[in-house]
């Protein structure tokens, strides 16, 4: 602390600079400190109230170090000697102090309160701050608010604590209702939509299966249909084959029958035809058609001629006979015998018949 004032009149003033530091508190309790590390602790600031360099009071009795006087080196040495000695003394004294014996092996010393009542131990010195602040100095008090002179009568009403509308308090329940209702409604709608989407998902999964199965079913149906058609076609073909075979067999049979039937048809047909005169001899036919009728005609003419001749002959015979009959009757009359006449007619009657036969024989 024995800093020396710099010589005045040099033109330079005394300056001192140091990092600002918190004032170290005085410890409430004494600490047994290792004297060796003592020096490491930053030296405390000197209290300026006792700093001799600070001028206090009047300056008459000011006791300044001679500015120019260099301290006597011997003096300094002595002082240092003194200081060292004091230190050594202090150290020796400290070592002489009786201490508690060393702890037994496996144990160690700890601090324990031995008072009747336990109290909190702390390093802090109890303190209380008290301060006061004067108002900032004003040149002139602020001009008071203009308040027009009051007229009329004063009316007062008492307002108790909590009577007045307080926005912050009042808004809370309203907000809660608003937010609550909105969130409630929103939750409802969200849940509704979620349910719907879940349903849709299930529907989708189901539809996936359903479509696949539907197609499978249709495919099998179609396959079955094709197989059935194929079968029917085959059966139809088979039927047709059978039918054709049957038809062929029938045809063959018919052919055989026809052949056998027709085998003797030609001769019989020819026979019949020949019988019916389709195959004729032109000479024979000419004879039959031309000659025979002519012949018949001629024969007829001949016959008619002969008949005419016979009729003429018959007439002649009848003439003769009737003439003879007349003659006989006249003769009988003349004879007038009945018996005789009778026998005459009997003898005369057969006579013409041999004549006629001879005539006809003659004609043929």
């Amino acid at each position: 602390m024995a800093a020396v004032l710099p010589p005045k009149g040099d033109g330079g003033t005394y300056t001192f600079a140091s990092q600002p530091r918190a004032v170290q508190e005085r410890k409430k309790y004494r600490e047994t400190r290792d004297p060796l590390i003592q020096n490491d602790v930053p030296s405390q600031y000197g209290n300026i109230m006792y700093d001799r360099r600070i001028v206090r009071g009047n300056t008459y009795a000011q006791h300044t170090l001679p500015a120019s006087a260099q301290p006597d080196p011997i003096e300094i040495q002595r002082q240092q000697e003194n200081k060292r000695r004091a230190m050594a003394r202090k150290r020796a004294k400290e070592q002489l102090r009786p201490r508690s014996p060393e702890a037994v092996e496996g144990r160690k010393h700890i601090d324990v309160q031995t008072e009747l009542y336990l109290e909190e131990l702390s390093d802090r010195v109890e303190e209380a701050d008290v301060d006061c602040q004067t108002d900032a100095f004003l040149d002139r008090p602020p001009s008071p608010l203009f308040i027009p002179a009051k007229t009329g009568k004063d009316v007062a009403t008492q307002i108790l604590e909590g009577d007045l509308f307080d926005f912050d308090i009042e808004v809370k329940p309203i907000l809660e209702v608003l937010v609550g209702k909105t969130v409630e409604q929103a939750l409802l709608e969200v849940m509704e939509e979620e349910e719907l989407s879940n349903l849709r998902q299930q529907q989708r999964a189901f539809e996936e299966l359903r479509n696949a199965e539907l197609v499978e079913q249709q495919r099998l149906e179609e396959q079955e249909r094709r197989h059935r058609e194929e079968k029917e076609r085959r059966m139809k073909q088979q039927h047709e084959v059978l039918k054709k075979e049957k038809e062929t067999a029938e045809k063959i049979a018919a052919r055989a029958f026809a052949q056998s039937y027709l085998a003797d048809l030609v001769p019989s047909v020819f026979g019949t035809l020949a019988d019916n005169g389709y195959f004729y001899d032109p000479v024979e036919r000419d004879v039959e058609q031309g000659f025979m009728p002519w012949l018949m005609e001629q024969v007829e003419i001949q016959l008619e001629k002969s008949e005419l001749g016979r009729m003429v002959l018959d007439g002649i015979i009848r003439e003769v006979t009737s003439n003879r009959l007349d003659l006989y009757s006249t003769a009988e009359d003349k004879a007038s015998s009945t018996t005789q006449a009778k026998s005459n007619t009997e003898n005369a009657a057969p006579e013409p018949s041999p004549d006629t036969t001879t005539v006809s024989k003659f004609i043929y």
């Binding site: 809370k172 309203i174 809660e176 209702v177 409802l188 989708r204 996936e208 479509n211 197609v215 495919r219």
Partner: protein, 341 residues
């Protein structure tokens, strides 16, 4: 001394756009009464509240019991847009539940909802389609839609509606075609589906492919698909598309079409076999399954079998798949391919 502070009890929620709900069991009857009110504002507020209220499944049964559906049916023809839009939304929420769908059919509400298909407001149309799609999910509902002769209308709408609604219509048709395909076929649905296969949205492509699959379940549908030239487009999707949904449904459509001999030869001529064989090892099980099924169908044709005999090994690997359905399909496929007369 009455305090203004009410912190101990929460204040009621006050929203000027909604009717405050009555307590407990009275909520629905009151809403129902207000739905039939003369004043437009009351109706609007009631239908808004109802829409939120119905999102809780516990309230659906009460609502049906109190005859909310009948009131909503009347509101469908309301002149106000908000009322129509919100009432269709309510119907959509109701249709999300089994009892709701039954109520739809009991009250014959399908026809009034379908009248909204021509609504000027997009959102009302969309909600109407949403509700119908929900109804169509059950066979009864789909039957109801078919009986209402809605299929030709829906098919027509596919041409004009915007994409979001197209998706809904495709879904509705999907369910309806499980019940009856003849009406869809006669209204030219196959042609429209085929044209939608080249749409830019993958979801529409996949749904169109799925609808082709449904439509080609009966014999007439398969013939129609071949006639309209769907097969080359589908095969194209198999090769070029990268959405697994689209691929799965296209493979499904091909597998249904290739049941007939005509379909088989069309697909073979479009080189469907190469495309399908590549899909046998796809990561999605649906794609694998559909591809295997389609290959099974194709291998019934002698030409297909000849080609597929080269790929039998890769199909045999699938018999150790983790999905049992795929294993089954792979076994059948191997059996059919290696079949000898």
């Amino acid at each position: 001394m009455a305090f203004t502070r009410i912190s101990a009890k929460y204040p009621p929620q006050i929203d000027p756009t909604r009717t405050p709900l009555a307590y407990g069991a009275r909520a629905i009857p009151r809403l129902n009464r207000e739905l039939n009110d003369e004043t437009l504002l009351t109706r609007q507020r009631a239908v808004m509240s109802l829409c939120d209220y119905l999102h809780d499944p516990e309230h659906i049964a009460t609502a049906l019991r109190e005859g909310i559906v009948e009131s909503l049916k009347n509101l469908l023809s309301d002149p106000d847009i908000t009322v129509r839009q919100k009432s269709t939304e309510c119907l959509f929420v109701i249709a999300g539940h089994a009892i709701g769908r039954d109520a739809f059919i009991d009250h014959e509400i399908i026809k009034p909802v379908s009248n909204l298909f021509n609504d000027s407001e997009d959102i009302a149309r969309q909600n109407a389609h949403k509700a119908l799609e929900m109804i169509a999910e059950t066979p009864n509902g789909a039957e109801g839609i078919v009986t209402c002769e809605l299929i030709p209308t829906l098919v027509d709408k596919l041409k004009t509606e915007h994409d979001e609604i197209k998706v809904l219509i495709l879904d509705t048709l999907h369910y309806c075609m499980r019940v009856d395909t003849s009406k869809a076929l006669s209204s030219g649905a196959m042609k429209i589906f085929t044209s939608l296969l080249s749409h830019e949205l993958p979801i529409i492509r996949s749904k169109a492919a799925r609808d082709i699959m449904d439509l080609s379940v009966p014999l007439a549908g398969k013939d129609k698909a071949v006639e309209e030239g769907s097969v080359p487009v589908l095969v194209d999707l198999l090769v070029k598309d990268d959405s697994p949904d689209v691929i799965a449904n296209s493979a499904g459509a091909i597998m249904t079409i290739t049941i007939t001999t005509k379909g088989k030869y069309t697909a073979i001529n479009c080189n469907a076999i190469e495309a399908l064989v590549k899909l046998v090892n796809h990561q999605s099980s649906e794609v694998r399954l559909n591809a295997l099924k389609a290959l099974t169908c194709l291998s019934e044709a002698p030409e297909g079998r000849d080609v597929l005999l080269l790929f039998v090994d890769s199909i045999k690997e699938r018999t150790e798949d983790s999905v049992p359905a795929v294993v089954n399909a792979a076994k059948i496929a191997v059996k059919v391919i290696t079949w000898k007369p």
